[in-house]
Each structure stands twice: as C-alpha cells, then as structure tokens.
C-alpha cells in the first residue's frame, strides 16, 4: 500500500521530466491556443454579434481557455492534473533562479513571486497615476484625446492597485513568505494550490491592462451600474481580470488560514501567536467571505452585459449593484490595512526592545475590526439613501474607529518612554501611524452624513482613502521590506539612504494627498479630466508632488533591489527580534528550520533574556 501511495505523491518522483521550454513560454503558447480555440468555437455557435472573430461572449470563453492554458503551461498540468488522475507528477522545481518562473510549492518562493508580480503591478498602476496627474496639470484636455481614455486609466489604476497590490503584497506576498516561518512550520497545507494561485495574479493584471483594446470603459474600479452595462467590451475584461486576481487571493488565504491553524510548532499556542499572524488570519477569513461575494456580483454584471439581463440597469436596480459592490468594497479596505496594523506592533517592540503594550487588546482590535467591517458599507452610498437609513451605517462607521484605535494604543503605549532605535523600518512605521491618523480621522468625518453629502465624489474622498491605503499600508509595506530584507536576502540595506528615501516618499505623499483635501473642499470633482480654471494652481502643485512621490517609490525600489543583491552581509538577527523567523538562517533553507521548533514563551517581552523558543536540531542521519 505504501508503495502505491508514494506513487500518488507529486514530490520526489524519479520519473521526472526535463522541460525543453521555459514554463512561462509554454504557458503563453498554451494560453494562446486556449484563447483561439474557445473564441472560435464560441463564434461558431453564436455567430451574429457584429464581428466575425471576436465578440463579447467569445472574449469571455476565449479568456477562460487562455487562463486554463496559462495555468497548465506554467506547471499546473504536471502538478495538478496528473496527480488528480493518480499519475505521479513529473514536475521538477529548479534549484536556481528559474524556480521563480514556474509553479512552485515552496512558500518562500511563492511569497517572492507574489512580491515581484505585485511590485510590477504597483509600478504599472503608478505610471498610470502619473499620466492622470499629467493630464490634470491643465484644466482642459491636453494629454488624453478622449474622456473615455482618462476614465479607463482611472479604472485600471484603481483596480490594479486594489486587487493586485493592496489585497496582495502583505497577505499573499509577505504572508506567504513569513507566516509559516513565524509559526515554526516547514511547509504550508495547500502548497500546490497556493503555487498555482500566484499565476492567476499576472493573468488577471494583464487582462485588466489589455482591456482598452476592447473599448474604453468609464466606471472606475467600482464598475458602477447602469454605466457598466452600456460600456464597450473593455468592461468585460475588467470583470474577468478582477475575477482572476480575487481567485488568487482566495487560494492564498485558504492556504494561509489552514496553515496557521494546523501547522503551528509545538508550544505555539493561540496566546503566543505573533501579531502579524493574527492579522493574516483575520484578513484570510475576510477574504474567504467577501472575495466570492464580489466574484458573484461581477458574474451577474457580466450576464447583464452579455445576454443582456437586466439585474442592474434601469429596468432592474442599479442601487442593488452599488450595495453588493460595497458589501465587499468596505471590508476590502480593512483586508488591505489590517495586516499593516499588525505589522506596526510587530516592528515597534523589536525596535524599542520593550514589552508590547496591551498585546491582547491589539489582537482584540484586529478581530473586532474584522467583524465590524461588514457593517459599514453603505456609507459609500449615502447620497442614494434616506436619512433614516444612514444612521446605523454612520454609527458603525464611527464605532469601527474604536478597535482601530486599539492598534494605535498598543503602538503608542509601547513607544511611551521607550529607548527607540530610529532605524528605517521604525521611521516608516511612525510615518505610517501619522498618515493613517489623518486617513482615519477624515474617515470619521466622512462617516457623518452632513459632511459626506457635501464632499461626496470630490478629491476630499480620494485624499482620505489614499491616506489609509498608501499612508497606512504602502508605508508599512516598505517598513516590512526593510525589516525583513536581512532575513529574505541575508544582506543589509544602507540606513542613511533608507531614511532619506523614506523622508522623500513621506514629503511626496503628504504634499500630494494633503493638498487633495483642499482641492476637494474647493470643489474638484472625481472622474473628470477637465475642471474649472480656478482649480489649476492647486492641481498643478499636486501633480508636481505626485511626480516627486513616484520618483521616490522608484528610488526606494532600486535601493531595496541593490541591497538584496549587493548589500553588505547582515548579521543573523540584526534587530534582536524574538519571533521564530529569526531562529533560522538568512535566507532560510528549503524546509525553513534545521530541526524541530519548540516555543516556550511569548515573543513580545523584553524584560528578560530567556529565549522564546528552542530549535531542537535534527539528528545526523545514521551511516
């Protein structure tokens, strides 16, 4: 029996296959074949839709064929299909740099794949933002030719940043890399699924980026109806692209949640679980609920577009779409920012070498934000509601600031009278705390109907959510990259450069989005490439700061890449942290730990010198 079961194992099978072409290249070929075959089949079955080769239904079917071909080509065929039917996997994971360019089952490789893909998406989304800001330097159209082009740029920027970066980097990226290490696990539960899931992310992002080829869509990342059902075919690729990216997030979240629950090391009780792991667990559960919700909503919107049905157009109920979108949309914001809250309190005690203040309350805060996040959504559509209906949503939107405040309380309590080491990660966390305070406080304002109705659809709202997303999450992402760079690469960055670059980005960010509050209060509307001339000076200034910010992000990325490859060698535990990822070598070996981990006490107390965990070395194999 054992022999038979061994055959079913995908790993370490002697009948391995030498790949004669790179998996990525094979994926592209199979994706092309999948698209052409299903596209033509659909056109043959349903021919009278205005074009002989490409119609909206054929786009959808062709896309499905392309995604399946892509996933099979990058390794899914050997790793998923063959084992499903009982044949041994013939997939070989390279040991060199090529491991990043095909399906992997190593959570650290998957984490780096996600980080790379997501950073690339961040770059593309950022360049689109630069184009938007260039357009807005003048009150009339001078860069984009049609308003639809500008609005499509806004939509692609928002969708890429939300679904390809915000939901991804801290969870699928750093979460995949560090959660197993932080809980003392050697592997994840659904490693093949997780490896396959990553390749949905570039597929989804490329779909979104390709959407203008099928016509400009003008709904933004929200896909508002009934506008969407009247849009050209590009909107179809918006639905499909987001579908692929959210599916990637679901698979990553499923794997991480199961790993946290079942692969914790001996002694890693719930009371000792690191803050970042708590953050990932809470958002994974949110992802498992809300990402399928938005997927189904988009399926219905797609049916409205293709058949056409009338769920959400004027014959149906556009307000239903708005509600269904924001039912997902607001938890999405907390999905993005909860891991950042957790990371603040992961980094600050280490840099202060001081006990984490009110650790339990920091965790309770994460859990209550998770629970309340599903009760605040309608504050996005106050303009479409009766006064009496606004009250509960206004109430809960303000109440959610209380558990959010617990994270601030733990951070500030830890900082109180601490002898803080002002390193680059510390500086970025402090900046993140500052930025999110502004984003959070303006969020409380926006939860109040009188102000909400006044500034609805203005740049005030744009400034608010960029303060929470960039100010809260992206600054923390940079902090975490610097904090964990020695672990991932074994090398150290340049502190002086790190701090100057952090300051550069901080000034660029606050200069850009701080002024957007004023722009919004002055009457600058969202979703318009033209505006009244009196708004030009402020818009011009915002754009200059935006370019400065964009250059700062690029400089930061260059610095991190330089440190990763050429930086000086780092000590094993440069920050004197106590969490488990520092118990192993840098970078960690394939199976994470050279032995079994046993946790004996919590990780956030610095009032003693006893270790938090022991590594019981594996005995040498008997000759």
């Amino acid at each position: 029996m054992e022999q038979q079961m061994t055959q079913a194992e995908a790993r370490n099978n002697p009948q391995t296959k030498v790949m004669h072409i790179a998996p990525l290249f094979r994926g592209v070929i199979w994706a092309t074949i999948g698209f052409v075959v299903l596209d033509l089949l659909t056109v043959a079955v349903d021919p009278f839709r205005g074009h002989p080769l490409v119609t909206e239904p054929s786009e959808v079917m062709g896309w499905a064929g392309a995604v399946v071909g892509w996933l099979m080509g990058v390794g899914g065929y050997e790793e998923m299909i063959l084992p499903l039917f009982g044949s041994p996997s013939t997939w070989v994971e390279p040991k060199d740099w090529r491991k990043y360019f095909g399906l992997s089952t190593n959570h650290k490789v998957i984490g780096i794949q996600y980080l790379f893909t997501s950073s690339s998406i961040f770059f593309v989304g950022g360049m689109i933002a630069m184009a938007m800001r260039y357009e807005l330097m003048q009150p009339s159209m001078h860069f984009f030719t049609y308003a639809g082009q500008y609005l499509t740029a806004v939509g692609i920027h928002g969708s890429l940043m939300m679904f390809g970066v915000g939901t991804v980097v801290l969870i699928s990226g750093l979460g995949n890399y560090f959660v197993p290490l932080m809980i003392g696990a050697k592997e994840t539960v659904f490693s093949r699924l997780s490896g396959l899931g990553h390749w949905l992310l570039p597929a989804g992002a490329l779909t979104l980026i390709a959407s203008p080829l099928l016509g400009y869509w003008d709904t933004g990342w929200r896909g508002y109806e009934p506008l969407a059902s009247q849009d050209p075919g590009g909107i179809v690729f918006y639905y499909l692209g987001v579908f692929a990216m959210t599916l990637s997030t679901i698979l990553a979240s499923l794997n991480l949640a199961a790993t946290i629950i079942f692969h914790r090391a001996k002694g890693m009780t719930w009371a000792r679980l690191p803050l970042f792991v708590w953050g990932i667990l809470t958002v994974s559960l949110l992802n498992l609920i809300w990402q399928p919700e938005i997927e189904m909503t988009f399926v219905m919107a797609l049916l409205d577009k293709l058949i056409p049905f009338h769920f959400f157009d004027a014959m149906g109920s556009p307000l239903t779409y708005l509600s269904m979108f924001w039912l997902f949309g607001h938890p999405e914001v907390y999905i993005i920012v909860l891991p950042a809250f957790a990371l603040w309190n992961e980094i600050i005690p280490v840099m202060a070498q001081k006990n984490l203040f009110a650790r339990d309350w920091a965790i309770i805060g994460l859990i209550f934000v998770m629970m309340l996040s599903g009760l605040v959504w309608a504050h996005h559509i106050f303009t479409n509601m009766r006064n009496s209906e606004m009250f509960p949503f206004s109430f809960f939107s303000e109440m959610i600031s209380i558990p959010t405040g617990f994270s601030f309380m733990a951070a500030i309590g830890t900082l109180w009278r601490a002898r803080l080491r002002l390193t680059t990660p510390t500086l970025l966390v402090l900046m993140s705390l500052f930025n999110f305070t502004i984003g959070g406080l303006t969020g409380v304002y926006l939860a109040d109907p009188p102000i909400n109705l006044q500034v609805h659809d203005t740049f005030f709202v744009i400034a608010h959510f960029h303060y929470t997303i960039i100010g809260g999450m992206v600054f923390t992402w940079m902090a975490a990259m610097y904090y964990w760079l020695p672990k991932m690469s074994g090398r150290m960055f340049n502190e002086t450069w790190g701090k100057w670059l952090a300051l550069w980005v901080f000034i660029g960010f606050n200069g850009t989005f701080g002024q957007m509050f004023l722009l919004g209060l002055d009457g600058m509307n969202r979703w318009v490439p033209v505006y009244p001339p009196y708004l030009k000076p402020l818009n011009y200034s915002v754009s200059l700061f935006a370019f400065f910010l964009g250059a700062g992000f690029i400089a930061t990325a260059i610095h991190i890449l330089w440190a990763w490859t050429k930086g000086p060698k780092s000590p094993e535990n440069p920050w004197h942290a106590r969490t488990l990822e520092w118990l192993t070598t840098s970078p960690p070996p394939d199976d994470n730990f050279d032995g079994e981990v046993e946790v004996v006490r919590g990780f956030y107390r610095y009032d003693h010198d006893e270790p938090s965990a022991y590594l019981v070395k594996s005995p040498d194999p008997v000759e």
Partner: protein, 181 residues
C-alpha cells in the same frame, strides 16, 4: 516519509481547509438567494415545468445518495463498490445536467423576464458547480485505479463526496427557490 501527508494532523488540515473552502463557495449562492432585488415581488412563473424541475431534484438526491454510499463503501474497505458508486453518482449528475440542458434548449422560460433572469442565473451557477462535481467524481474513480484507497486512507474520496454533497444541497435550495418559494 513519503506518507507523511497521510498523518492524522495533515488529513485534519485538508478536511478543515476543504470545508472552509466550501463555506466560502456557499457565499455566491447566499448572495443569489438573498438578493432583495431578485426576490422583491418575486414570483414563480406559471410556465415553469414543475415535473422536469422535480425530476432534476430527484436525480440530485439519488446522485447524492450514491456518492454517500460510495464513501461508506470505502470506509469499509470495498474499493470496487466505491468506484462504481462514484461512477453511478456521476452518471446521475450528468443525467440531471441533460434535463437542465433540455429545459434551457426549449426556452420554456423566456430569459427576458424577471423570473427568467433568476432562473437562468441560478441554474447556470449550480449547473457549473455540478459540471465540476461530475469531473471530480470521474477523476477520483480513475485515480482509484492507480492509487489504492483503503478504509484508513481515502481523503481524496471524502473530498469528492464533500463537493458533490455541497453542490447537491446548493442545487436543491435553488430548486426550492425557483419552483416553490
């Protein structure tokens, strides 16, 4: 070491993970069922063929029962019965899809009506899950010829049965919404 994954803890992780995945996959159905637009002033169309709908529901129940019996068989170590059970369940599921395809093909229910939109969406989504379920049942029955399932080792069969029961319950709830409520 090759059978490490078969340890109890690993199986428990797979089981929990798969269950939570199915809970996650129930969200689209909950959304469709509870969408207040769809059931605001909702009605059951008079042109709907309740006999065909009932035949579909009956096939779903029979198929679910067969899959359940197949799992019971492998729990008692009867591999052949398990394979046959899953294949019969897949055939019953495929028959249900044929009935659904017939109903779609005849267009008894006009797609341009409120009821029609709900009908084609719900049956389309539940039919999609059922199609995947049929594929999984057949894949597991092929897999059983190459990987020996035993009374103690049959997680793959258990997962297939979970998925099949999940889509059966979703399909039956859709049937209740579409034909009776």
């Amino acid at each position: 070491m090759a059978v490490t994954y078969a340890k109890d803890r690993e199986i428990a992780a797979y089981r929990w993970g798969f269950r939570i995945f199915l809970v996650s996959q129930s969200v689209p159905f909950i959304l469709l069922f509870s969408d207040w637009y769809m059931f605001d002033g909702y009605y059951v169309s008079r042109v709907v063929d309740k006999w065909l709908g009932s035949a579909e529901a009956l096939l779903a129940l029979v198929s679910g029962y067969m899959a359940w019996r197949a799992l019971q068989a492998i729990r008692q170590g009867r591999l052949t019965d398990m394979v046959q059970g899953f294949r019969r369940a897949a055939v019953a599921g495929a028959a249900q899809l044929v009935v659904l395809a017939y109903q779609w093909g005849t267009r008894f229910i006009p797609p341009g009506t409120r009821y029609g939109e709900v009908y084609y969406t719900l049956t389309g989504v539940s039919g999609f899950y059922e199609l995947i379920g049929v594929f999984v049942l057949l894949a597991i029955s092929v897999r059983a010829a190459r990987v020996q399932f035993t009374a103690n080792f049959h997680w793959d069969a258990e997962a297939a049965e979970y998925f099949w029961i999940f889509q059966m319950v979703a399909g039956l709830l859709s049937y209740l919404f579409l034909y009776w409520i």
